[in-house]
Symmetry: C2
Subunit: 150 residues, 2 copies
């Protein structure tokens, strides 16, 4: 599944089941994906909610979905990419699809929660939030060839 879009990685992350609840790995400073710690924050999605679209000019995303289930859609609009114009769609959630997802700058992404309860994304980026370095597009834009169900 990796390299369907250049630079996007899906790395299987550990889920250690315990009696009281699982321990869920995301990233360590010796993980191959780790470059620099910028910020760790969480994003909650209510059932059916869509958060789309966003693209970062500088920041790399490193996230997983420990709670609930989301559909992630990625679109490569980078002029110099070998996978330019490629769009992929993947479901993320435990136990069968618990990944550390790495999204490099220049790739558009959007989420939709597809579980009956709320979902949670935990993201460890390589630079703190800076609204100047990201661009948003409305979900009904005509630039990205994808139609959300809502």
């Amino acid at each position: 599944m990796n390299n369907q879009i250049e630079g996007v990685l899906f790395t299987v992350a550990r889920q250690i089941e315990n009696e009281g609840g699982a321990v869920l790995h995301l990233m360590r400073n010796d993980s191959p994906q780790f470059v620099k710690f910028g910020e760790c924050y969480m994003s909650e999605l209510f059932p059916g909610a869509i958060k789309a679209w966003k693209m970062h000019k500088l920041q790399t995303q490193n996230f997983s979905v420990p709670i609930g289930r989301i559909k992630l859609v990625l679109f490569d609009a980078r002029e110099d990419s070998e996978t330019k114009n490629k769009l992929i769609e993947i479901e993320l959630g435990r136990p069968n699809s618990y990944y550390l997802v790495t999204i490099p700058p220049g790739v558009w992404y959007g989420f939709q929660s597809i579980s009956a309860l709320h979902s949670l994304i935990v993201n460890c980026t390589d630079m703190p939030h800076d609204k100047e370095e990201s661009i948003g597009l409305d979900i009904s834009n005509t630039f990205i060839p994808y139609k959300w169900n809502f």
Copy 2:
């Protein structure tokens, strides 16, 4: 509430409510609490579940509770601490008690989930997990003067 136990910090963290679900801050590389990135992982707790007790010799914990509600109990067993033998108990959860909690080495901690659904802890430690540097104690030990309800 800070400094009830020496070195333990409760920092109000931002909750940015959006239509689709909140964005929940934890830590940035320019946060006062940030020293070094070691590992980010999540710990899930089923309703009523207890995860206790643990103490780290080297690692500092930096966590919040974005989902559900937990009771956190801390006990200071450090010989050289000004708050030696002090025990504190606090409920953590949104919206009224969403904190970045910083626990330095040497302080014992334990959790119990007190919400009807599962709870989740997101922890950004200053060093990767190393089983050699932490000590566990059974919940029914007689060293820590606390009795869990279970």
